[in-house]
Subunit: 443 residues, 4 copies
C-alpha cells in the first residue's frame, strides 16, 4: 500500500499551522498507578512519538523555524495501567456497514482483555449503538475467549451492527448502569463522532469510563491513519471482480466491463485495485474530475482499436456529473446518485446513438467485497489493532482511536481523526501510478 | 452432484415410447478405414453402450416386454478413424455467454488434435458464429499447442463469443472454403441447433465436414447429460455469494440477504448452491411454483423468530408471478422479468407496509460467477470432454455432442440433446434435499 | 469424476458369480412401525434399487441367463421408521486420518437428527474408538445444532480422531450404558470393520442398537462406492501442489518437480490430479507396475528435450520396487517405504552419475491436503451423506454404510464395502486418460 | 506489516555514526539531458528525501547535534532522463530461489520500458546469471508486452533462474556485445553483490551500462527496506499451512502440528504468519535463542493441559542448538541443519521417553509457499517496483536497488542494502506481539 503523500490541508501548510489544531495529545482519565500484569513484554515509553512527516525537507522546515514537528504517541503496552483488571467491565460495539476483519478485532479485544490483563467481564453490545439503548431491547452478550473462538474465520460482525446515531444520554446511562470501564467502539466517521459524544458525556458526568475507537473504513479514508483494517482484503476481492469484468469484456466484440467499487469520498479501493489487476483502461475516482463526454470518446477510441475495455469507477465519482442526483443514508451521509448505473446507461446510449454495437457488462460487487473474512495480512493487522486498543484503554486513555502511521501503531485523538477525510492527491504518487498503469488520457 | 431422477417426458413413459424419438444412434460421415495413430490407449468398442435408466425396475420393465432398454454410445478413442490427420483442418467456435472451462475445452481440443492425432491446422473462429461469416470481418486464428498454453488458467473465452444465429449457408461456405473437416462448436441450446443446421447443410452439399458439439450450459439443463462443464465451478462461486448474503443478513437487525442466481428454466445452480452453503432459508426455482404472498408471510415469521434470513432465487423463478414482465435476448430466448429486483422491491414494500424495519441486501453475482476459470474438478472434466470430442470427430461422427451419463462420457445426437430441457423434478431427490436443508414451508 | 469401469473381481465374472457374496441386502433391527415425523418430503420406496452395472451388454447378460442383475437399495427417508425419536439417543464417532468434510458430516447428522426427526440426545465420542472405551477417560460431548454450527468451515474433525481398534466388548458396553440407539461411525476400512464388529456384538447381546457407517477414504478406494467425501477437495488441493512443482521445475534448468500424493493401494488422487493440472509428464500409481530404470531414462530424454519435468507419484507406487522397505501403521495397515524420498534420491543419483545437472524439488503435501475444509461440492455431498445416514439409521437398518453409485445415494452392507479395495483398472478409461494427458511412455 | 524498529547496528548508534558508511547517495552514469517522454505524470524532484528514522527523539537528536538525519532518495519518474529510449536496449535477469511476484516484476519492467519510454529492445536472460554467460548456451529471449501478457498470473519465473555466481568479466562481455544500456537484476543478497560487481566492471570499462536491482527476498531480510515483494503472499500461504497443522493437532489426542517456515537469518515470515493465524503456541526464530529442553517441557505442560499444540519454527532457528550441523548451498550461503526434522525427532524421543503418547504431524510447505503467484497486494507492489526500477534506470542511476521505506519507494545503494541483514529485534514490537499472540514462555 502506498500511503498518500497529500497531507491534510492544515499539515501541508506546515510551518504556519496553528499548534492547537494539530494536537496529537491524548486525553486520559487519570494517572496510571497500577503495575501491568502483562509480563514478558517490552513496554512502550509514554514519551515515544512517531513523527508525522516523512520528507526530510518538511521535517527540516520545522526545526529550522525552531518548532518541533508534529508527532503521534506510539501505541503499545505500558508498564503502569489505570484500571484494576480484577474489578473492570468492558464493552464492545460495532457500527455501520460490514468490513473484513470486524470479527478479528472483536476477538483480539476479548482475548487481550482476558489473557493479557485478566479482565473477566466483557459485554458485546448488539446491533451497533442500538445495543447501548435499553429501549431497543437488545441484550448485551457476555463475551469470553471461548465464545469468540474462530469467529474471525467468518465475515460480517458477530455482534451485529446498525447505522445512525442514538441518544447519547441513554447510551451513557447504559454504560453507567453496567459499570463499563472501557467502551471499544469499532466503526467509521459517524461512529467515532458518537464515541466522542459518549466520551464528552462521561467526562461531564465524571464517570471512570474510557472510550477507545477502532477506526473502520473500508474506503481507508481516515486522516492521520495510513491504513484501516479490511482495506487490503477489499482490494483483493475487488481485483477478482475486475478480472471478471476483463473476462467478460475480452470475450465479446466491443465488450465493456464496468465495475463499480466502494469509495464515497476517496478512491483508494478503486486506485489500488487497478494497480493490482492490470487490465483496466479507465479509472474514475471522486478526487479527480472527469467529463462523461471525454470518457465516451476515449472509450470509443479504445474499442475501435482493441475491441474491449474495462472501466473501474468509485461510487463517489458521480459528484463530477453536473446535475447528478443526491441521496442521504440512515446515518445522514450525503450520497451521490448511483454513478455505476448512470455510466452504464450513458455508455449504452452513446454507442446506440452512433450505431456501434456494444456488449456492456456491469458489475457491482460491493456486498460481496465487504462481507468476506479478513485475509492473512488484515487478520494480523486486526489482531494488533485489538491488542493496542486494549493497551490504550487499560491506561485510562480515552477519546482516541488506534491508528497506524508509517508502519507503527499510534494513538490519535478522535477529534483529529474525524477532522478531515483522507483523499487521493490528484498530483500525488498514487494517482500518478494509476495513470501509468491504465494509460488513460486526461478526461 | 445428484443427477436428477426425473427423466425426459418421453422416457418416463418408457415402455410405450416411440422408438424413433429415442434414437441414440449417431450419424457418421462414412466408414472408419484408417488406423488410429493414437497409441498406448485402450480403444473403445463401438458396440459399447451406457444404459440410460439406473433403476432396476425401469430396466426390468424393458426386458420383460422384450425390448432393449435405451442406451447411449460410449465416447472414447476408436481403433480406426475416418479422417486422415495429415490432411485435415479443423475449426473451433465458442458461442453464447461465458461459462467456466471454455478455455479448458478449447485447449484440450487443440492439444488432442495435435498430439494425439498429428493434425496440423486448427482454426479458432472468433466471436462465435460471427467468426464463420466472412462479411463480419473476424479473421480466424491459427491455433497451436503453444498458442493455447495456459489459457485455461483464465476465465472467459480466448476466442471471444457472441450470441444469436448467423446465416447457415454463409457459415458453411466458410467451412467449405477453408476445407474444415471437423467443426467443434462449444455452446448452449441455440448454438447446438445452429451446429445441427450447419451439419444438415453440409450433408446436403455432400461435404466431408463433421460437426461435433460440446454442450455448454452453466445451468446444467441439457437433457440426456448429467453434468455440463462449468456447473460445479459456478456452484462454488455461488456459494461465496450466499455466504456474503448470510454475513450481511446476520450482521443487521432484520437483515435479509437476497441472492439471484442463474437458472432461466432450471434451478440446478440455485439448488446445489443451497446444499453447499447451509444458511439459506428460502430457495425459489423455476420448476416449483410459489406465491409471493406466502413467501412474505414465511419471511416475516422467520424474521420475528430469528432476526435474519437468506433467500436464493433462480433467475427464471419469476415465471410464477402472474403478470410478470417478459423480455427476449439476442438469441431469441424468452426471458422473464428480473425476479431479483422484483422480490427486493416487494419485500421492502411489505415490511414498510407493516412498519417493521428491514435491512435488505440484494446480490446479483451472475457475471462474477460465470467469468471465473474452471476449478480442478471442472478442468479435469473439460480436458476429457475435449479429448472425447476429438475422438468422436476423428471417426467421422457428426451431428452429436459429447455427453456424460452416470459418470461415463457418451455420444448424444444433437437433436436429442436439444429436444427438451432437463429440469429439477419437484417430487425428486434434489428438491427434496433442498427442502430438508432449508426447512422452508410449502409456498 | 470418472467412475472406474473395473468392477470388483467377483462382479466382473458376472454371470458366474456366487449369489451369496454379492448380497446387497441390508440388515435391519426390526419392522418400521412408526410414522416418520419428517414431513414435506418424498419418501423412498424400500423396493427401489440402483442397478450395479452400467453397460448394456453386462446387464443384458444377466437377463439373458434369467438372473436379475445386482442392484443396491436406494438411500433416503422412509415413510415409516423403527425408532421413536422422542426416546432415542445417538452417537457419532470419527476415526482414522483427517479427510475434508468430516465436520460437514458430523454437522449434517446432528442437524438431521434434531430438525428432521426431533431426536434430543446426540453424543459425540471423542478421539475415535478410544472415546467409546471408558478406561481411556474421554467424556462424550453432548452435541446440538448450536454446538455444531459453523464447524464445517474448518478442516479436521471437531470430535478428534484416533487410529487403531479398541476392545469391541468395552465399546458395546458404553453404547449399552448410554442407551445409544444409533451409532454413526465415520471412518475408513478399519473403522468400518470395527463398526461391523460392534454391530455383531450388539446383535449377539440382542440390543436395539444400529450401526451406520459413513465411509471415509480420501483415496476413494472403497468398493461399490463411486465417490467418497473429501476426495474432490483433495484433488483440488493436490492440483495446487502440482502447480507449485511445475513452477519450481520450469524456473530452473533441468528442474524436476516431484510430488508425492496419497494413495496407498489406489491411485485415484494422483490420477485425477494429473487430469486437473495438465503439466505432469509422469504419473506413477500402485496399480500400474513400472521400473525405476525406465522412468529414469524417460526423464532423461524429457530433460534433454524440454529442460524441466513434473512427476506425480502415489504413495503406494513403491510396491513395484523390488526389495523396497515395508512398514505397518498403528491400525496395522501395511505401508510400503516412502516412495517419494526413494525416487528423489534415485533420480539425484542417476543424474549425478551421468554428470548432468539437476534441480530436484520434492513436495509432499499430504497433511496440507487432508486437513482443509471441504469445498462447495464436497460440502453438499457431505450434507446429503449425513442426512441419508440418519434416514437409514431411523429405519433400524444396521451394519451398512451410505454409498453413492451412478449419482444416487445407496445402502451398502459393511461386509461388502470392505470386501475388496476399489482400484484403477490399468486397462480402463481413467488410466487411459492419464496416459493421454501426460503422454508418458510405458515404463 | 510492522516494520521492525531495530535499526541496522550503525544507525542505532546514530549520533556517532560515520557519515561515509551511511551514504544513501546514488551513483549515476552522467547528467540527465533528455526530456522524459513519460507524460501525464507528476515528476519527482531529485532533491526529495525520505527520512530514515521515524521516532521524533531519534530525529531530534540529529538536529540537536547539528547534523542532518539520514534520508533516502525517493523513487519515481524524473523530468529529464539519461538514455535515449529510441536507441536503448535493456536486459532482465532473475536469480536465486522462487518468490511470488517475479513474473509481475518482469512484466512491469517490460511494459514500462515499452509503453512509458518507447524502448523497443528488451532481452530476457534465461536461468539467472548463467544466461549472461555465452558458454552456458542459453539464448536471451526478446521480450515484448505481448510476450509477457498474463505471465503474472503464474508463479515461478518466466525467465528461469539459477543460483550461484558467474564470471563477472564474461557477463559484462555479453552486456557489452548486446549493447545493453540497463540491466535489471532481480534477486537476493548474492545476486545484488553480483550486480554490483557487474556495475564495478562496467565502470572500469567505462561502459554506458546501468545496473538496477530489484531486491528479492521472501524472508524480507534486506536492510533499509521495509518490505520486499512476495513476503506478504508468502505469509498468506504460510498461514494455510499453520491452519492445517492446527487441524491435524486438534484432531488427535496429544496432537502436535510442527510447521517449518522459511527464514534462514530472519524470522519475519514465521512471526507474521503467527500473527495472522492465532492458533500457534510456540514460535521459534533465528533471532531469539531457545533451548530445546525448555521447549520440550513447555510443550509437555501444554499437552497435559490442552491435548494439542502448534509449533512454528523458522528454518534458521537451528543455530541455537549447540553442535547442530552446518551446510552450504550452491551460492555459498551457510545453512544450518534442518531444524524441522531435528525438532520432530527430538520431540518424538522426548515423549516416547516419558511414555506419553504423541501424534506428531510435521509440515514443510516451503516450495508450495514460494512458488505461488503474487496476491493482489503484492501484484500492485511489484507493478510499482518494476515501474520505479525503470524510472531509476532511465535517469542513468546505477548500482542501486528500488526499496520501500515507510510506504514510499526509494533508491538504496546496493552496497548499503547488502551491508547487513535486517532482523527481528528480540526487544522490539514484532517479537513482543508474537509473544502476546502465542502466550509462549521464555525458552
Amino acid at each position: 500500500m502506498i500511503p498518500e503523500t497529500a497531507l491534510p490541508r492544515h499539515l501541508n501548510e506546515s510551518v504556519q499551522m496553528k499548534s492547537g489544531y494539530l494536537d496529537f495529545r491524548i486525553e486520559k482519565l487519570g494517572e496510571c498507578s497500577m503495575p501491568s500484569p502483562f509480563s514478558g513484554m517490552q513496554f512502550i515509553d509514554d514519551r515515544r512519538r512517531a513523527v508525522y512527516h516523512r520528507d526530510l525537507a518538511d521535517i527540516s522546515g520545522f526545526f529550522r523555524s525552531g518548532k518541533e514537528p508534529p508527532a503521534m504517541e506510539l501505541a503499545g503496552p505500558r508498564e503502569r495501567i489505570f484500571f484494576d483488571p480484577s474489578d473492570l467491565s468492558c464493552g464492545i460495539v460495532t457500527c455501520g456497514g460490514l468490513c473484513p476483519g470486524l470479527n478479528d478485532v472483536i476477538r483480539a479485544i476479548v482475548i487481550s482483555l482476558f489473557h493479557h490483563y485478566g479482565v473477566k467481564t466483557v459485554y458485546g453490545f448488539q446491533y451497533g449503538f442500538e445495543g447501548l439503548v435499553l429501549r431497543c431491547g437488545h441484550k448485551p452478550l457476555e463475551l469470553t475467549p471461548q465464545s469468540v473462538a474462530g469467529i474471525n474465520k467468518f465475515g460480517g460482525t458477530f455482534l451485529g451492527s446498525s447505522r445512525g446515531p442514538q441518544d447519547v444520554s441513554e447510551m451513557t446511562d447504559t454504560l453507567e448502569r453496567l459499570k463499563v470501564g472501557i467502551l471499544f467502539a469499532i466503526g467509521g466517521d459517524g461512529t467515532l463522532r458518537g464515541a466522542q459524544a459518549i466520551n464528552d458525556e462521561a467526562r461531564r458526568r465524571k464517570l471512570r469510563t474510557a472510550v477507545i475507537g477502532v477506526p473502520k473504513t473500508i474506503d481507508n479514508d481516515i486522516s492521520y491513519i495510513d491504513r484501516s483494517f479490511g482495506f487490503l482484503t477489499a482490494v483483493s476481492e475487488a481485483r477478482k471482480a475486475i478480472a471478471s469484468a476483463h473476462s467478460e469484456a475480452y470475450g465479446a466484440r466491443n465488450g465493456v466491463g464496468l465495475v463499480k467499487l466502494m469509495g464515497r469520498d476517496s478512491g483508494f479501493i478503486a486506485a489500488h485495485s487497478v494497480l493490482s489487476e492490470n487490465e483496466v483502461n479507465f479509472c474514475l475516482i471522486p478526487e479527480v474530475p472527469f467529463s462523461v463526454e471525454n470518457l465516451l470518446s476515449a472509450l470509443e477510441e479504445r474499442l475501435r482499436r482493441r475491441s474491449h475495455a474495462v472501466i473501474v469507477v468509485a461510487e463517489g465519482a458521480g459528484r463530477h456529473i453536473p446535475g447528478g442526483p443526491r441521496e442521504c443514508d440512515a446515518s445522514g451521509n450525503v450520497r451521490y446518485g448511483d454513478i455505476g448505473l448512470y455510466l452504464r446507461d450513458r455508455i449504452k446510449e452513446h454507442f446506440a446513438g452512433i450505431g456501434m454495437s456494444l456488449n456492456m457488462k456491469y458489475i457491482d460487487p460491493s456486498y460481496i467485497i465487504r462481507s468476506v473474512a479478513a485475509d492473512a495480512n488484515d487478520s494480523a493487522f486486526c489482531l494488533l489493532l485489538g491488542h493496542n486498543a486494549v493497551h490504550a484503554g487499560m491506561t485510562g486513555r480515552t477519546g482516541m482511536v488506534v491508528g497506524n502511521w508509517a508502519g507503527r501503531f499510534t494513538h490519535v485523538p478522535i477529534r483529529l481523526a474525524v477532522s478531515e477525510r483522507k483523499k487521493i492527491d490528484p498530483k500525488g504518487r498514487v494517482w500518478s501510478s494509476v495513470l501509468a498503469a491504465t494509460g488513460q488520457p486526461a478526461m
